[in-house]
């Protein structure tokens, strides 16, 4: 499914979910744990928030679901699609650009870098 209407700026939990999946495919609980870890405990997703976000990301084609066999059971894992990686990179570039602009502004007023 191709990417449709990715909203920028992304919500922080969404960005962290994509960041987590950028490191490799994961199942739901692993994403939950890694988001908390990556954000240094600042973002603690609830089960509903996590799956709400996964639902939207799947619908937008930014991630995909893969079934793997685990102890004889079908287990679902998620991985980033190419569109998802592009969307993530676009968002990161946008954030870098914002930071650059902020730094320029701060520098011109002599307040030191952010």
């Amino acid at each position: 499914m191709k990417e449709k209407n990715t909203p920028y700026p992304m919500q922080e939990p969404t960005l962290y979910i994509l960041l987590s999946l950028r490191g490799g495919e994961k199942h739901g609980y692993a994403i939950l744990k890694e988001v908390a870890e990556l954000s240094e405990g600042r973002i603690q997703l609830s089960t509903g928030t996590l799956y709400g976000a996964l639902y939207r990301l799947l619908d937008q084609g930014l991630i995909e679901q893969v079934k793997v066999k685990d102890n004889g059971r079908g287990k679902k894992i998620y991985r980033l699609t190419r569109s998802g990686l592009e969307a993530f990179n676009v968002e990161v570039s946008r954030m870098k650009h914002v930071l650059r602009e902020v730094n320029k502004q701060v520098h011109s007023t002599g307040e030191g870098q952010v």
């Binding site: 449709k4 739901g28 939950l32 609830s46 509903g48 928030t49 709400g52 639902y55 939207r56 619908d59």
Partner: protein, 463 residues
């Protein structure tokens, strides 16, 4: 621990059916894993609080995504890109198809059988009709709740529209009671209610059509049936004849709804939706002219019948075709989204909506003594024209940039046709409504233009 997990698994059932089917068991597993870990770490209370506090917002956003732009967008760009039409699917089973037609039979019992047969025949004044209104309202509401929890069923369109109409009727009744007791500014409130319900109806039909064009056609039937039922003056026509004409209309609506789902072909569904007012409305218009007996209408003739019949037929067909045109227009905007076209098509639709408001107010002003609406009318007209023209100009540029590197202008011609037909909708309403049942060459011309619009729109909405 097990009790808490069970309790939360009950909460998870509040999510939309499709969402639950996809993630339900996984969510329960993840919740239980988190619960165990929080228990080990002695952070159980914090974990449960977070789950409980974030649950409502998560529910709301998931429902919004399921019902709104998320899946709607998916549909709008899917298959042939003009919203899914269900053409590639096989027909529904008899059970679902009959369910789609069932509300027409229920409303037929409420509006025709009870008042025209039971009450008239038995002089039954014990509130049987009121009881039935409550029962049917409850049934419609129950269907809405069922669909919210179990996911939108293909047969739900007619139920949802009748529920909407019932809700409007209840609101109208409530409003009437209130204004009777306060007697303040009835005309203004009545007008606002009239405008509000018409625009809301247009919006609901558009949103349903965005989800699925076949459902849009299914949902267009109830408002048409109600319009034919309440708009004609049949007071002097024998009750049996009126009941027969109305029954014929409801029967057609029932058959059309059932066959729409049985065939699940867009063209068949479009034809069926258009057949309901075309065949079902004529006997009602005929009866108004011929049925009242000698003395009431001194010179009944077929010309007079058509004068009654055509304006309403054109308006009814606009209810079928308008949302379909809007969804196709929406598709053009989405196709040109990279060049900003999506925003521009919204400008155009906003302009057309203002045009519709103008038309409705114009209708009210020209048929009543509500002069205070003159200024809002002019404001809506001005905003409507500016938004429409600005939006279409920008959209043309966006489509041109996006679609025509090889000089192919067919998409631009298609866009132009869609725009003109959509723009004509408010004009149609504005022109036809005040001249309903009028006489003279001007009115005939307007009606024929209306019919030409129907043919043009019918051709353009094809896939």
């Amino acid at each position: 621990m097990t009790t808490i997990a069970r309790l939360f698994s009950l909460f998870f059932r509040l999510y939309p059916a499709r969402f639950r089917a996809r993630f339900g068991s996984e969510m329960e597993e993840v919740f239980q894993a988190g619960l165990k870990e929080a228990h080990v770490q002695g952070a159980l209370f914090g974990y449960l609080m977070r789950e409980a506090i974030l649950l409502p917002t998560s529910l709301v956003s998931t429902y919004m995504w399921s019902m709104g732009p998320g899946e709607g967008r998916q549909v709008a760009v899917s298959s042939m890109g003009r919203g899914t039409t269900g053409m590639s699917m096989t027909g529904e089973r008899w059970g679902s198809s009959i369910l789609a037609g069932l509300p027409h039979l229920l409303i037929w019992i409420l509006m025709v059988v009870i008042p025209d047969f039971v009450i008239r025949e038995t002089a039954n004044q014990i509130g049987l009709q009121d009881l039935l209104v409550i029962l049917i309202s409850g049934l419609l509401l129950g269907t809405l709740i069922y669909n919210l929890f179990k996911g939108w069923k293909s047969w739900s369109g007619s139920w949802i529209m009748y529920l909407f109409i019932m809700a409007m009727a209840w609101l109208n009744q409530l409003f009437y009671q209130l204004t009777q007791s306060t007697t303040q500014n009835y005309a203004l409130g009545d007008t606002l209610l009239y405008l509000g319900s018409a625009l809301l109806l247009a919006y609901v039909l558009y949103k349903i059509t965005c989800k699925n064009r076949l459902w849009g056609l299914l949902s267009a039937i109830p408002p048409m049936v109600i319009i034919w039922n309440i708009s004609f003056f049949l007071e002097f026509v024998p009750a049996r004849l009126t009941a027969l004409a109305h029954s014929w209309l409801f029967l057609l609506a029932f058959i059309a709804a059932v066959w729409m789902l049985r065939t699940k072909r867009f063209w068949a569904a479009l034809a069926l939706a258009m057949v309901v007012p075309t065949l079902g409305g004529f006997p009602i218009a005929y009866l108004e002219i011929y049925g009242a007996g000698p003395g009431y209408f001194p010179e009944p003739n077929l010309t007079n019948v058509f004068r009654q019949y055509l304006p309403y037929l054109v308006l009814n067909l606009a209810i079928v075709l308008g949302p379909q045109l809007a969804v196709k227009f929406r598709f053009v905007g989405h196709e040109a989204a990279q060049a900003g076209g999506k925003a521009y098509y919204r400008l155009v639709l906003g302009g057309i909506l203002c045009g519709l408001v103008y038309s409705f107010i114009h209708t009210v002003v020209s048929t009543g003594e509500v002069n205070f609406l003159n200024i809002p009318m002019q404001v809506f007209l001005a905003i409507g024209i500016i938004l429409s023209l600005l939006g279409i100009a920008l959209l043309f540029v966006a489509v041109y940039k996006h679609k025509t590197p090889d000089g192919d202008i067919s998409e631009l011609v298609h866009l132009g046709a869609l725009f003109l037909l959509l723009l004509f909708l408010p004009v149609l309403v504005g022109l036809v409504m005040p001249s309903v049942r009028g006489v003279g060459f001007k009115n005939w011309l307007i009606w024929w233009i209306g019919i030409a619009w129907v043919i043009g729109a019918g051709i353009v909405v094809k896939d």
